[in-house]
């Protein structure tokens, strides 16, 4: 007989309030529908990445099996499972972007930041990640920095965008 343990919630009051706002949008018995926004909220409050404990907390809060949260959390490339820099650069290398020159975009990003795909700059400012299609093929090649999309990229445009970050 496994013991019953009471786990104190990992969430701060503001995180809880924000998740509750999402839960309210769904029928009361379908709390789990809020899992994606809840993971976003938790990820943001945790410096841009998700720990296993924070996914567990989401699972317990939404009353769903923990593995079901891991499934969602590992499926979407928007969720990160290791510490990241202050700004996340997600560059698309899927078909449309590749045909429109994402190879050049990636190599420029790597050269300018001095890191490879999947790495973080030593000053912890940027993390560069390769992602699948972000549904902006009309503006290929594209990348996402934090929550903003940047389309029709050229090396010059990238320099301009990155210069704007502290």
């Amino acid at each position: 007989m496994p013991e019953k343990s009471k786990q104190p919630s990992l969430f701060s009051a503001s995180v809880k309030a924000e998740i509750d706002k999402w839960i309210k949008r769904y029928p009361a018995d379908q709390k789990r529908s809020a899992v994606i926004p809840a993971l976003h909220v938790v990820q943001r409050s945790n410096g841009g990445w998700l720990t296993t404990e924070s996914m567990d907390a989401v699972a317990d809060y939404l009353e769903m099996p923990r593995i079901a949260v891991y499934e969602v959390g590992t499926f979407y490339s928007m969720f990160v499972h290791e510490p990241t820099g202050r700004h996340k650069i997600n560059v698309c290398t899927n078909v449309s972007c590749m045909l429109c020159g994402s190879d050049e975009i990636v190599s420029h990003l790597q050269k300018r930041l001095g890191i490879k795909l999947g790495e973080t700059t030593p000053d912890n400012k940027f993390t560069l990640r390769e992602v699948e299609c972000l549904a902006a093929c009309g503006g290929a090649p594209m990348m996402q920095v934090n929550r903003d999309y940047h389309e029709d990229l050229t090396p010059e445009k990238i320099d301009e965008i990155l210069d704007g970050f502290e």
Binding site: P2, K4, K6, I67, Y70, E71
Partner: protein, 790 residues
């Protein structure tokens, strides 16, 4: 109904049915991996693509509903090409390690590739490799072989009721697993081994021990719970290699519990191979004739000198019908009615009004059709996992399942109301429910209204009362902890009263595999075959052990684990002039108190019959011959009967014994029994106010001698978490034990020391003490009040 045509065959089908179901029923084979008729439809493997006329592309038969006039070709060029293409994709990442794969020879992927694949592949790149997961003691993984059919994931979600496996990652990085290092702990987990169509999930204990084509298979009945799940045992060179489920829609469907699947490992340990007698304290191996002659002589001598009443027999509730019948016949032939299989029962005061045999009160398959149920003292999920699964199905379709329990057990389904109380408060809770019913206008059986008049009713009582009376298909079920309760008669009477008032069925989930059969066979002190009153009533199990008889005959039990008060039992057995044990196993403890040890075969080595809790007789034959000199117990008892010169022991087969019992049994046995109003509600809650009450259960992997010896089961989380005593946070604080690692429990003069686990599932003023585990062997489970200290 719609009419469709598959491969030129006109078929009538239920509208809305899926193509694959209709084809399966008609015996037309369509290859598949993800489809399983007990699981939801995933349609993710694409192996069942078929050619449907007027559809531009091949359609998956598992997810295509039939429509009137549909014409389907399962073997047209288009269908075959689609299947061949799917097969090629599925094999892209599948390793070619069939020669070292346990699934080889019974692999759906292997078979389907032979039948529907092509002999070469266009794929020339690197295959992916997936790290294996450690899922615990029972399931072995080779995740590179996984084809992502997700049957195991859906099984967890839909059947086991706890989602432990999932699909993490995406695309080429998708994996089946637990994500974090964690074992799969469901009591039904082994079924994923059968479900897995490839060699990704295989049996850990069976691994690398045999090839499927080398195995001899025999059909038999699982011996560890009162359901009698149908199983098949595979053996090689007279050694049992594994157990698998056998389909029986009325009992276990296509599933079995992990206990039934992995217990076979225990059949080979500690075996007694030769009859042995103790002479002047020294054990001596002897032949059967010497041993049985000694037993017969000693029994007759004790009978002559002290009277037959000084001989008693105790048998396991998992003994077969034939063994039970012969043992009681031997005892009664000798002139003693001291025979009992109810080793843990405490309260025998309702024996005279008991039904012919204890029963569930409804069919096992009807558990899933209930719309309300009240279970008393039951951890059905762990104690009878297959019944738990049926109840889960009822719960999923909206039934209100409620419990009155001594532990806040975790169930795999939503529970409507749970009343968790100390054992002494069971009766007052049931009285509360009865009172709630009376308050809402139900007419109570005579005497109940007076009995419960001063009981206080709370919301939970009212809710349960309303659920039971609201449903037109409701049941009240007593679990083993109610059957073992000090106040069983009152609990049973109140449960029956509640059932009568709500028009519910009433029944129980009994110990062992054959409690019902033991009653039917007359292996109780007050009744003979088919419930007829014994001409002279004998002593019940507890009295036999307490009264220090001169001779004991024990069949298939380990007293130190299997009776309520082991210290008392061992004392009784040691001081007796003769203790004869018919046992498959031998331990140092047995050598200390026994005088004669007779090796008999467990269920796998004898023919016999188990009568399950719905009264279904299931006979089986022996799977393998016994090792050494061990013999089927029915044969040993037959010879013993003859040597004791008891009449009517001329059987030549176990079937003859069974048929004799069957001839004596009536078809319309009284399965309800009588009813008597309890004279009072024992308020013994007051008596034990200053001490703590023990609340106990028999953990699922401790129920019998075979299971206790099954090594893989003993390494599961379920087995490991039941080696300590439990107390809730407040209670531990109150008694100054919050940070105690080890505590001492004392009751009736014996003291045991055990690790303490803070566990908020235990009610206030109680301590959970698991029974039948090595650490609590000498604990007296027949007492409620215990002392506890650091």
């Amino acid at each position: 109904m719609v009419t469709i045509e598959i491969d030129g065959q006109k078929l009538e089908a239920e509208s809305g049915a899926m193509l694959i179901e209709v084809a399966d029923k008609a015996g037309i084979h369509i290859p598949r991996f993800c489809y399983h008729d007990k699981l939801s439809i995933a349609a993710n493997c694409r192996m069942c693509l078929v050619d449907v006329e007027k559809a531009p592309k091949p359609l998956p038969a598992c997810a295509t509903p039939v429509m009137d006039g549909m014409t389907i070709h399962t073997k047209s060029a288009k269908a075959l090409a689609a299947q061949r293409g799917t097969m090629e994709f599925l094999l892209i990442n599948h390793p070619l390690d069939c020669p070292i794969c346990d699934q080889g020879g019974e692999c759906e992927l292997q078979d389907t590739a032979m039948g529907y694949g092509s002999s070469t592949s266009d794929y020339a790149d690197v295959k992916r490799v997936v790290k294996d997961k450690n899922l615990g003691a029972l399931i072995n993984t080779d995740m590179t072989r996984c084809i992502h059919c997700t049957r195991c994931v859906r099984f967890g979600q839909e059947i086991a009721g706890i989602m432990e496996l999932g699909t993490t990652g995406r695309g080429e990085h998708m994996e089946i697993g637990t994500y974090i290092e964690e074992s799969v702990d469901s009591e039904l987990s082994g079924n994923v081994i059968d479900l897995c169509p490839v060699g990704a999930l295989t049996s850990k204990p069976f691994r690398y021990t045999s090839r499927p084509w080398e195995l001899t298979s025999s059909e038999t009945i699982a011996p560890h719970d009162c359901l009698g799940s149908n199983i098949v045992i595979h053996s090689r060179f007279h050694e049992i290699k594994r157990a698998l489920p056998r389909d029986n829609e009325d009992i276990n469907e296509c599933w079995i519990s992990d206990r039934d699947r992995f217990s076979y490992e225990g059949l080979n340990n500690d075996r007694l191979l030769q009859p042995m007698i103790k002479e002047r304290g020294e054990w001596k191996e002897v032949d059967w004739e010497t041993a049985l002659t000694k037993v017969a002589q000693d029994l007759n001598k004790i009978k002559d000198e002290h009277g037959a009443n000084n001989i008693g027999a105790l048998l396991s509730p998992s003994s077969t019908l034939e063994e039970s019948f012969l043992l009681q016949k031997l005892m009664r032939g000798l002139g003693s009615s001291n025979v009992d299989h109810r080793l843990r029962q405490q309260d025998f005061s309702a024996d005279d009004i008991a039904p012919v045999y204890p029963n569930l009160g409804l069919r096992i398959s009807d558990l899933e059709n209930l719309n309300a149920a009240l279970l008393i003292g039951s951890n059905i999920r762990k104690e009878q996992p297959i019944a738990g699964h049926r109840l889960r199905k009822a719960s999923l379709s909206g039934a209100n399942i409620s419990f009155v329990n001594g532990i806040d057990y975790e169930f795999s389904f939503d529970v409507a109301e749970t009343i968790v109380v100390a054992p002494s408060r069971y009766t007052s809770q049931l009285a509360g429910i009865a009172k709630a019913l009376i308050d809402s206008g139900a007419s109570a059986p005579d005497g109940i209204a007076n009995l419960v008049a001063s009981v206080s009713v709370n919301d939970a009582h009212r809710a349960i009362a309303q659920q039971l009376s609201g449903g037109d298909n409701s049941a009240v079920i007593l679990g083993t902890q109610a059957l073992h309760h000090l106040d069983y008669a009152a609990i049973n009477a109140l449960a029956t009263a509640i059932a009568k008032m709500t028009n519910s069925s009433v029944g129980s989930l009994t110990d062992g595999a054959n409690s019902s059969g033991a009653w039917l066979a007359g292996a109780v002190p007050h009744r003979v075959v088919d419930g007829a009153a014994a001409s002279r009533s004998g002593l019940d199990a507890q009295k036999m052990l307490a009264n220090h008889l001169k001779a004991y005959v024990l069949l298939g039990i380990e007293p130190e684990f299997d009776v309520a008060n082991a210290a008392q039992a061992i004392n009784g057995l040691s001081t007796a002039d003769l203790t004869v044990m018919l046992t498959p196993y031998v331990t140092d403890a047995m050598r200390a108190y026994a005088d004669v040890l007779l090796p008999v075969g467990p269920f796998s080595e004898t023919s016999g019959t188990f009568v399950n809790v719905e009264g279904c007789w299931q006979s089986f034959t022996g799977t393998i011959p016994s090792p050494g000199e061990a013999r089927p117990a029915w044969k040993v008892l037959r010879v013993l009967g003859n040597l004791c010169e008891v009449d009517g022991f001329d059987y030549t087969s176990s079937e003859e014994v069974r048929d004799e019992v069957a001839r004596m049994s009536s078809d319309d046995a009284d399965l309800a029994g009588g009813w008597r109003c309890p004279t009072e509600l024992k308020a013994n809650a007051n008596e034990v106010r200053d001490s703590i009450q023990a609340v106990s259960d028999v953990p699922l992997y401790a129920v019998d001698a075979t299971v206790r010896r099954a090594s893989a089961l003993q390494n599961t989380v379920d087995a490991k978490t039941t080696q300590s005593v439990g107390m809730n946070t407040q209670c531990a604080e109150k008694h100054g034990l919050s940070n105690a690692e080890q505590v001492r429990l004392s009751v009736s003069g014996t003291e045991i020391s055990l690790p303490l686990q803070i566990n908020d599932r235990v009610p206030d003023d109680c301590v959970y003490v698991p029974a039948a585990v090595p650490a609590t062997v000498m604990f007296d489970f027949s007492q409620q009040a215990v002392q506890i200290q650091r």
